[in-house]
């Protein structure tokens, strides 16, 4: 699993870099527009450690934001599965709010909360929260009639059992959704850092952008890709463990 993810990223990254150099040499562009391979290598050696710390900072915020959004989506999903007015309201609200681009609200968050980690965390959570919520709501509101029937007619169906049945029956789907939303958490954090934060790899890329230093941006992208892949691998492995333990 680990090898596959890393290989996939390395192949995509290498293809991207090759394309870039191909364009550079084909159009005879200056090093100022697209740096030479040697310049990229020199920059990598210079900034690697600093960028690594920045990526770890971003990843930490993304992971916490992701965990927060999983927790919120689970709680709201459990309430939303109710057929009562509250449940319907939550479902309608979730469908409508998720249609709005959360990034557009980010400046308001920075104005209210400042450019510290709280804003980054909130934006990261919000960006991956709604897709997660929709999936969790979909799973928890869909009855598994052929299993639930017995418990329902014998008066044994508690809400905890209902949630357990529905989660168990959709564990593979939920694991995939959680892994998929991890990328969104990372995207959310970087976007937040682009906009106004004062730390993280997004902030570093923003500075590199102001300096028009593509070499630095390429190094940052490499580190983001590797660490996002590692995080995804961790989540997939956890999901695999849960499935294996439950379906043993």
């Amino acid at each position: 699993m680990l090898h596959r993810r890393i290989y996939q990223f390395l192949i995509v990254y290498a293809l991207g870099i090759c394309m870039l150099f191909l364009v550079k040499f084909a159009l005879n562009l200056s090093d100022y527009v697209i740096p030479s391979p040697m310049e990229v290598w020199t920059t990598a050696r210079q900034v690697f450690l600093r960028y690594l710390v920045n990526v770890m900072d971003t990843l930490a915020v993304a992971v916490i934001g992701h965990i927060l959004s999983i927790f919120m989506a689970t709680v709201v999903g459990i309430i939303g599965r109710l057929t009562s007015g509250v449940g319907s309201l939550i479902k309608i609200a979730a469908f409508n709010i998720q249609a709005y681009p959360i990034v557009a609200v980010a400046p308001i968050i920075f104005i209210l909360l400042g450019d510290g980690p709280a804003s980054r965390l909130l934006i990261a959570s919000m960006i991956c929260y709604f897709p997660l919520l929709l999936s969790v709501l979909g799973v928890l509101t869909e009855p598994v009639s052929d299993i639930e029937h017995f418990y329902r007619v014998t008066g044994r169906l508690t809400w905890q059992l209902e949630v357990k049945i529905r989660v168990f029956e959709n564990i593979a789907k939920l694991t995939t959704v959680v892994s998929g939303s991890a990328t969104l958490a990372m995207v959310g954090t970087i976007v937040a850092e682009f906009i106004a934060a004062d730390a993280g790899i997004g902030y570093t890329i923003r500075i590199a952008l102001y300096q028009s230093d593509l070499a630095k941006i390429l190094v940052a992208l490499f580190l983001i890709g590797i660490w996002t892949s590692l995080y995804l691998v961790c989540l997939e492995w956890l999901g695999h463990l849960i499935q294996k333990k439950w379906q043993r």
């Binding site: 052929d146 029937h149 017995f150 007619v153 168990f168 029956e169 379906q247």
Partner: protein, 230 residues
């Protein structure tokens, strides 16, 4: 009277097709009764109405409030997080341990207890599902094709065992097997299309208990009556 319905009228939601028109019938227990009829005439719908799982009909279904009706069907599954044995123990009321052992032996599912439900054959799954319902407190158990995919000999063993073990309970057995319902059931409610009144006819079955060999001629006569009525 265990359950009785008068002038039932029903059509499926978002459909203009009438399923029941002025349908009246009764099930007086205890014993093994059958609901028989071709596919699509509304057997499952009527059974679900008896169990209180389908609403939105006109007419009356009268039953003693103390009567506990359970409805089971052949596509039910047990949760996959534990083995069948653990599940059966978990859902068995404390005083039914002896029943559980007895039923698993008679139904031939002892070997299944260590496995997960998804690993069982369809016949084993249906027998396991029926077992857990028999362990519950009920007065009327509606079995909607609950013995589908079970071979004929085992089906016979199961029905006879149920009749002996639960002689004070009432069963409504939904099946497409005319020989089986004619042989083992007491009252056979033959349901037919709404366009062919009367929509329901009650035929006396042979109510075979396994003590004596069934009267072959009488059995054939019952089967003919069922076929005519359906």
């Amino acid at each position: 009277m265990l359950i009785e319905c008068h002038d039932l009228n029903y059509q499926y939601p978002s459909s203009s097709t009438q399923v029941f028109q002025q349908l009246s019938c009764r099930i007086s227990g205890p014993g093994f009764h059958a609901l028989f009829g071709p596919s699509g005439v509304g057997k499952t719908t009527l059974a679900k109405m008896f169990a209180g799982l389908v609403k939105g009909f006109s007419g009356e279904i009268n039953t003693d409030p103390k009567v506990r009706v359970l409805y089971t069907y052949n596509l039910e599954r047990l949760p996959g997080w534990s083995v069948v044995g653990e599940h059966l123990t978990e859902i068995s009321p404390p005083d039914t341990t002896k029943h559980l052992k007895n039923l698993t032996e008679s139904f031939g599912i002892e070997e299944c207890l260590k496995n997960r439900f998804s690993r069982l054959s369809l016949g084993q799954q249906n027998r396991t599902n029926l077992t857990r319902y028999l362990l519950q407190d009920f007065d009327l158990l509606i079995m909607d094709e609950s013995l589908a995919n079970v071979d004929e000999a085992t089906r016979e063993t199961i029905i006879l065992k149920m009749k002996r073990m639960f002689s004070q309970k009432t069963f409504l057995y939904i099946s497409h097997n005319v020989i089986e319902v004619a042989k083992f059931c007491k009252d056979i409610l033959v349901l037919r299309d709404v366009q062919k009144p009367p929509q329901i006819t009650v035929i006396k079955g042979q109510d075979h208990t396994g003590e004596h060999a069934p009267d072959r001629q009488a059995l054939e006569q019952t089967m003919l009556e069922i076929v005519h009525a359906s």
